[in-house]
Subunit: 185 residues, 2 copies
């Protein structure tokens, strides 16, 4: 029997993809093992437990989101930066609902673990957008929480099937972004 050549990163990647495909709540050691052509107990050579795998997926997701945001904001400021950040955020959640769901259950274990650092980079990108509007330093945390709440709320309601009405969801999102833009000026 030839070896599969796995490591923690490969297991995490397979888990993240499966979470996106099946929904995070259906992530299980069995399906990850199947995907990798291996028996469930073998995974324990690379990750500590299902909870550990979920945490690793959260770190991966936060890192990917942070990188994508940073890339998408290159050279933009003001309303352009806001629109780009908003679109990137929503697009990530829609394309990777399982990865994003993993971040919601994750908790930083210490104040500077890998997950906390990855999350901080996401927030830093959003903070950069706000600074482009000249938000006073005293209000920055509040504005950051507002922006994050709006983006997180919209994206999770959307992927959770919360918007039932027939009205176009893209249009509502654009409306929300313009609403925030006007408010920040």
């Amino acid at each position: 029997m030839p070896r599969a050549g796995l490591d923690a990163a490969a297991v995490t990647l397979a888990g993240a993809d499966l979470a996106d495909e099946l929904g995070f709540e259906h992530l299980a050691m069995g399906v990850v093992a199947d995907r990798l052509g291996v028996r469930p107990p073998s995974l324990y050579k690379h990750v500590g437990s299902l909870a550990d795998l979920a945490q690793r997926i959260a770190v991966l997701a936060a890192t990917e989101l942070g990188d994508t945001l940073r890339d998408g904001l290159q050279g933009l400021s003001g309303p352009d930066a806001l629109r780009a950040a908003a679109q990137t955020f929503r697009g990530f959640v829609r394309d990777h609902p399982g990865r994003y769901a993993a971040t919601l259950g994750a908790r930083p274990t210490s104040s500077d673990d890998e997950y906390a650092r990855a999350t901080a980079r996401v927030l830093e990108s959003l903070a950069v957008v706000l600074r482009g509007y000249g938000v006073p330093a005293d209000d920055e945390v509040h504005a950051l929480r507002m922006l994050r709440s709006a983006l997180h709320g919209f994206a999770t309601l959307e992927t959770g099937g919360g918007f039932q009405l027939g009205t176009d969801v893209d249009e509502s999102f654009a409306w929300l972004v313009e609403f925030v833009d006007r408010g920040l000026r």
Copy 2:
């Protein structure tokens, strides 16, 4: 052995309370049975399955939230209504995180089932707030989705431990509500 005298409502209520106490993800037939002084299989005389129980908790939660919003909005309009609705919403999620989490996993089975109706009443209360601002009819759905996203996003991030910074969360919430108020005028 005397009977416990259960019915679907009693099981649902116990489940909802336990979801709030333990977290929705720790809701299990075993803990509900323990709470009610009964063995797990007995619960199946009243609810169809754990998934069915979760759906019933979602209906209960949406109904309670709708009633509380309606009560809290009595006689208010404009900014006062917005502040009242926002506070009520956030307070409900904070006091009943398990109940609220149940609503996130729930899906209306048909377009007019009990859960859809309960959710519609929540949204109707928020729509009333918006009408108090004279939001144009064409924008009402967009504004409703924006308001819901902001409230839902803030409340879930808060109960999920998403706000790590030291800055006061109450203050941030008040800032968010004033931001929305200004934008709606």
